[in-house]
Structures are given as structure tokens and as C-alpha cells.
């Protein structure tokens, strides 16, 4: 569900966030309008708004774990975790985490990839949110949900800065709520 449908309609912070995101056409390949959040990170106010909106939403929901998907989920997740007093768990590409891991595969347009998590990092029934910069097909987030649930955690919500059109009108991902701040910016805002 988009933030504007969920109590933040007309919130000027959302417009500032959207305006700060740069669109790069034809990356990584032709036809893709890549939503570049690095320009959001350069805009201190807009970056702070992004974190504040998530923190306001989750601070009173007894969330003890924020899981972030490598690598852009790492840009948002830790700040949220720190502000709400939760642990941060990185969900990583294969071979990066040094300890004992569990892994889950997910589909790419061509082929598969895997997402890994350290075992023993969540207790059963801990309440978790999963963060990434953007949700497109939901494949990565689905794998993340599977990983956390296999360890007995309760995934309360998945949260992303940007949600692609495929997810509009779809409020749930694998039965879990999805919370998104903004839709993709159009090419007019390319700078």
C-alpha cells in the first residue's frame, strides 16, 4: 500500500522524496527506466524525511528486527533500526556472510540468484520488517520473507521507498503487507 493511501496523502515530504529520485533511462539495459536513489542520499532533508516516515510508522509496532536486502537496503535499514531500537540483519548475496547461513533462491528475468542470512540471528516469533529501496516483481522480497519465516520470525511488513507499477493495487506480498512511499518518477525528472 502506498503511503499516500495510508494517512500521508498530500504530505509534502513524499513529493520531496519523489523529486529527489533520479531516473536513468536504459540502465542496466535498454527499455528500463532505472530509479536511482543515490540522488535522494545527496539530499539530506529528503533522506531524513524518508527515514522519519518509516520510523514513525514502525516505532510503536514492537519491531525488534529490521532486515535489509543487499546492497541498497543497507542504505535505509540501519538508520531505521537504530531509531526504533531494533537489530539490523543484512540479507546478502551468496558467499558474503562469513558464518553459518541459510539461503533461498529467487528468480531473475534470466536465471536465478540467492539470498543468504546468518542462522541464529532471530528468535522465534520476533517481529521483523524487511527493507529494500525498490520493489518490482517482489521476487527478492519473497525470498527474504521465506528466509526469515524459516527461522520462526514473524514478518510484520515489507517496506520500500519505491514501488513499481506491477505492485500497485497489490497490498500484500506472500500474504505480508507491503508499504511503499512513492511510485517511480517519470523521465521528465531526469537531471
Amino acid at each position: 500500500m502506498f503511503a499516500s493511501e495510508n494517512g500521508l496523502k498530500g504530505d509534502p515530504r513524499l513529493e520531496a522524496i519523489s523529486a529527489a529520485i533520479r531516473v536513468v533511462p536504459d540502465f542496466p539495459k535498454k527499455g528500463i527506466m532505472f530509479q536511482d536513489i543515490t540522488t535522494l542520499l545527496l539530499d539530506h532533508k529528503a533522506f531524513k524525511h524518508t527515514i522519519d516516515i518509516f520510523v514513525d510508522r514502525y516505532r510503536d509496532m514492537q519491531i525488534s528486527v529490521v532486515a535489509g536486502v543487499e546492497a541498497r537496503g543497507f542504505l535505509f535499514g540501519p538508520s531505521i533500526a537504530l531509531a526504533i531500537g531494533a537489530k539490523f540483519i543484512p540479507l546478502r548475496k551468496p558467499g558474503k556472510l562469513p558464518g553459518k547461513v541459510i539461503s533461498e533462491s529467487y528468480e531473475l528475468e534470466y536465471g536465478h540468484d540467492r539470498l543468504e542470512m546468518h542462522v541464529g540471528t532471530v528468535e522465534p516469533r520476533e517481529r521483523v520488517i524487511i527493507i529494500d529501496d525498490l520493489v518490482a516483481t517482489g521476487g527478492t522480497l519473497s525470498a527474504a520473507i521465506s528466509l526469515l519465516e524459516s527461522q520462526g520470525a514473524e514478518v510484520v511488513e515489507c517496506a520500500c521507498v519505491i514501488g513499481l507499477p506491477e505492485v500497485k493495487g497489490q497490498h500484500k506480498l506472500k500474504g505480508k503487507p507491503l508499504y511503499v512511499l512513492v511510485e517511480p518518477s517519470g523521465v521528465d525528472e531526469f537531471c
Partner: protein, 244 residues
């Protein structure tokens, strides 16, 4: 070898703190650790080294410990897990994921950096992919700076500048978006750990090429035997934990 004198609020209140009792190696170490005592004892050795040789360790890189142990440092050091033989035999990998599971230790880590860098006119926090992305943004947000990710090749979508650096075998590249920083800006570069210093040195060169002044490199952990500091040239290095 130059050290930037940055007045640290840590100094004044550290002097009034009693030396903390070393933590038991078995406490605070249940998150996903393989059940191996040898890991704990290695970590305990690190902590002891900190307590007893803080003065020596601070000789080359500036460490947060200096004369009297800030109790936050011991907790941070104790929360870092060492994994032997990763990614290959002989390497004692410093795993910060356990630090991220310790909410107090993570909060303290960020606070130590923020206390050092706020109010110093630093407008850029550059963080090296991927573990620099975990520590850099909270620091940037707290001190009012931009966060600039420095990434492996082909990850950044826009126009980039890149800098090559040596690996044990071969080379790698680090990239930054053109226009992310302006000449004259003051920056710090963050990573979780400095080993040989190759990556940080490349990051420094990249920022200096576009006219940015690097005030300091800041890492949670240093592996001093690898002499990474020597690769940083004039740029000072600040670390929280030194691990042999």
C-alpha cells in the same frame, strides 16, 4: 604522518570513568556463533589487548581508546565475532554482523563517530560498498551531510568516475557518480574495516581527483599488522577497535 587534531568530547568524560571489568568471552555471544570456544578466546584476547595496550595502539592510528578505556569501546569490541578461515584458510574474518545485532553496541558505534565529526563542517560522508553502507548513512544523517556510495563497477547507473586499486591477485575498481560532490567539500570516508588500505586509498584518490578534501578515514576495525594506514598518505585514520 600527520594527525588531525579534532577536539573530542570523549576525552573529557573518559577521564572520570573507572576502568571496566573485562567481559566474559561467553557473554553476549549467542547470536549465531558456531559453538566453538576458540572463537571466544580469540575475541577475549582482542579485548585484553585493547585494555592493556591502548597507548601503544594509538601510536599510529588514532584510536578512540587513548589513555582511559571508554566503556563503549569494550562493548563494541566484544560484539564483533571472529570467524577463522574465511574467506580462505589463515584469515581471521572480523564479522560486524554480530555488532549490528547488539542494539547498544551499534548505537554506541554510530555515536562515537557522530560525536567526532559533527560541527566540523563535513558535508560528505562517503561509504564503501557494501559494509560502509551500513555505518555511513546513519552518520551522514546525524551530522547533516550527504551520503555518497562508492561502489564496485557497473552498479551505479549514471555517469561515473572510477579508480583502480590492487588486490592480492589482480586489480579491482571503485566508482562514484559524477556530480555527487563539489570541489572544496570536506569529506570523511567510512568502511567497516581497514586491512591493506587498498580500497580506502582508491576512495581517497577518487574524491581528491574532484577537488574534495578528505578530513579523515574512519573505520570500526583496523588490522594494524597489514599497515593499511601507510597507504593513506596524508589522510588521517580513526578507528574504534584494533585487532591483531
Amino acid at each position: 604522518m600527520q594527525t588531525i587534531i579534532i577536539s573530542s568530547p570523549l576525552v573529557s568524560h573518559r577521564l572520570s570513568l573507572a576502568l571496566p571489568v573485562p567481559r566474559s568471552p561467553l557473554i553476549n555471544y549467542h547470536h549465531g556463533a558456531p559453538p566453538s570456544i576458540r572463537l571466544s578466546s580469540h575475541r577475549f584476547t582482542n579485548s585484553l589487548r585493547l585494555f592493556s595496550s591502548a597507548a601503544a595502539a594509538s601510536r599510529d592510528s588514532e584510536m578512540a581508546t587513548e589513555d582511559v578505556q571508554d566503556p563503549r569501546i569494550a562493548k563494541i569490541a566484544a560484539s564483533i565475532r571472529v570467524i577463522p578461515d574465511f574467506p580462505k584458510p589463515g584469515i581471521m574474518f572480523q564479522d560486524i554482523t554480530t555488532l549490528l545485532l547488539d542494539t547498544e553496541a551499534f548505537k554506541d558505534t554510530i555515536a562515537l563517530f557522530v560525536d567526532r565529526y559533527k560541527g566540523k563542517d563535513i558535508s560528505v560522508v562517503a561509504g564503501v560498498e557494501a559494509r560502509g553502507f551500513i555505518f555511513g548513512p546513519p552518520i551522514a544523517l546525524a551530522i547533516g551531510a550527504k551520503f555518497v556510495p562508492m561502489r564496485k563497477p557497473k552498479k551505479l547507473p549514471g555517469k561515473v568516475i572510477s579508480e583502480e586499486y590492487s588486490l592480492e591477485y589482480g586489480t579491482d575498481k571503485i566508482e562514484m557518480h559524477v556530480g555527487a560532490v563539489e570541489p572544496g567539500e570536506r569529506a570523511i570516508i567510512i568502511d567497516d574495516l581497514i586491512a591493506t588500505g587498498g580500497t580506502l586509498a582508491a576512495a581517497i584518490r577518487l574524491l581528491e581527483r574532484v577537488g574534495v578534501k578528505i578530513v579523515e578515514c574512519a573505520c570500526v576495525i583496523e588490522l594494524p599488522e597489514l599497515k593499511g594506514k601507510e597507504k593513506l598518505g596524508e589522510t588521517p585514520l580513526f578507528v574504534l577497535v584494533s585487532s591483531a
